[in-house]
Amino acid sequence: MDSQKIKLELENISQSYIVDNKVTDAVIDISFSVKDSEFLVILGPGRCGKTVLLNMIAGLEKPVSGRILLNGEEIKGSDRRIGMVFQKLALMPWKTVMGNVEFGLKIQGKDKKTRQEISQKFINLVGLQGFEKSYPHQLSGGMKQRVGIARAYASSPEILLMDEPFGQLDAQTRYAMQNEILRIWETEKRTIIFVTNNIEEALYLADRIILLSKFPAHVKEIYEINLPRPRDTMDPEFLKLRKIISENTDLAL
């Protein structure tokens, strides 16, 4: 857990788009490294480009410049060792919970028995035992996200990307899910890169926080969070850190 081994490295990653015949920068020269098994949070104001950054790591978009290295080797495009949990509506409505969770394994060609065994393990891990045969439309928002997490875990990725997974949940369910994800992470340690726009959430979860500027995104600062877990959002230390980070964050109207 104190391993200093670097799992993922971003070197000078930039992204830009052509909009109305003009070149628009979305992400500017971002470099940072991610340690093995750490819980890294990327924090940025609304629409700053953090999803673009995550998409590039996931291989859904190609950066215009820069390299991404996994375990020291450059990766191009989507890599099976990197899994992702999306913000909303990414569960396939025509599949049951079990069908969704085992999706990655099915793509890999694993036989039914193995798929179901592995999937069941993660369905239990996220606390959804008994709901294997339910359809997404029968589940609450928090439950849907748990299915997404189980699905990402099931194909045994080395890194888990999470794109504002709790963004659509109300403030209280969000607290519950934050505790859940920490519990899951403690039980099945993986490297997690978690994107959010919520400073309190970032401080509650992270080992380190990478603070991005407003659009176009560049790295403003990197914070090491040494508070012991479980953290108390109303603890004076916590609130002090929150204020510091808040003052450093850009306002994006």
Partner: protein
């Protein structure tokens, strides 16, 4: 406490009663229509059959079959043609729709031709079809097939080519092959569009079969209408029209039910 007590305010009770009243409206409109019908048919010099005439014609039909078939027999003759045509149309239509929806080359190759052909109404094909295949079962089924396949292809193509990007992203994350994306993601996500096409094709097929029969059939409900027209038997015409309406409604309900069974996730939550 045996029966649970239901608490309701005055306002709620009023709202509930208003909703109940709505259920009576169709009965009222139906009764008004029937009354109007009786009036229209009983006015002087009117050829228009009254509801009583229709009923009598129905009874007469039970005794004397037309062309060797009872009323049900004719209905079944029409339905049989529709079912055969639909079966083939659905199979070919869905496959073709997937092809041009998924494969850009196929779409470029076949798309424009299909759009042009699609604009020709099924009945315009009657002369050609009659010339090639004469008058008989096959040409009639062929016309229905032409009418039914168009909406299936169009809707399937739209459904396949409009899969939500986020589902495709999920496929990409898991490194799915294009074939896996097609069968595991694109086709299931397109099912509600495909079913919309199937529903349209069913009602289109039913309407076309009647027209095809009117133009040269020897059995079927459409044929009955032509028969009635030729012999001035307007009661027969109207009786057939009523049957057509009922069967059409039944087919529509059947297709919707089929969709509910196959695609339980498309059940829309109301409220």
């Amino acid at each position: 406490m045996n029966k649970p007590v239901i608490v309701q305010s005055e306002a709620e009770r009023r709202a509930k009663n208003i909703r109940r009243a709505y259920a009576i409206l169709p009965v009222i409109s139906l009764s008004l229509l029937t009354a109007l019908w009786f009036y229209a048919s009983s006015s002087k010099g009117s050829n228009f059959p009254s509801p009583l005439d229709i009923w009598n014609r129905y009874l007469l039909f039970l005794e004397k079959p037309i062309r060797g078939l009872s009323l049900l027999g004719h209905i079944w003759a029409s339905l049989k043609r529709v079912f055969i045509a639909l079966g083939v149309a659905w199979l070919i239509g869905i496959s073709f729709g997937i092809l041009i929806g998924w494969n850009k080359k196929a779409n470029a190759l076949f798309g424009p031709i299909f759009t042009a052909i699609r604009s020709v109404p099924p009945l315009a094909w009657v002369p050609l079809v009659t010339m090639w295949f004469g008058t008989g079962e096959f040409p009639q089924i062929l016309i229905v097939f032409i009418g039914a396949i168009m909406p299936v292809v169009v809707n399937t193509q739209v459904g396949i080519s409009n899969v939500y990007q986020i589902y495709l992203n999920v496929g990409k994350i898991f490194n799915a092959s294009p074939k896996q994306v097609l069968f595991e993601i694109a086709i299931p996500s397109a099912l509600d569009a495909i079913f919309a096409g199937l529903r349209t094709s069913t009602s289109a097929g039913w309407m076309v079969v009647l027209a095809a029969e009117m133009l040269g059939g020897k059995s079927g409900v459409g044929f009955l209408i032509t028969r009635g027209m030729d012999s001035g038997d307007y009661a027969l015409c109207l009786l057939s029209m009523i049957c057509i309406g009922l069967v059409g409604a039944f087919l529509a309900i059947a297709t919707i039910t089929l969709e509910r069974i196959i695609c339980p996730w498309t059940v829309k939550k109301s409220s």
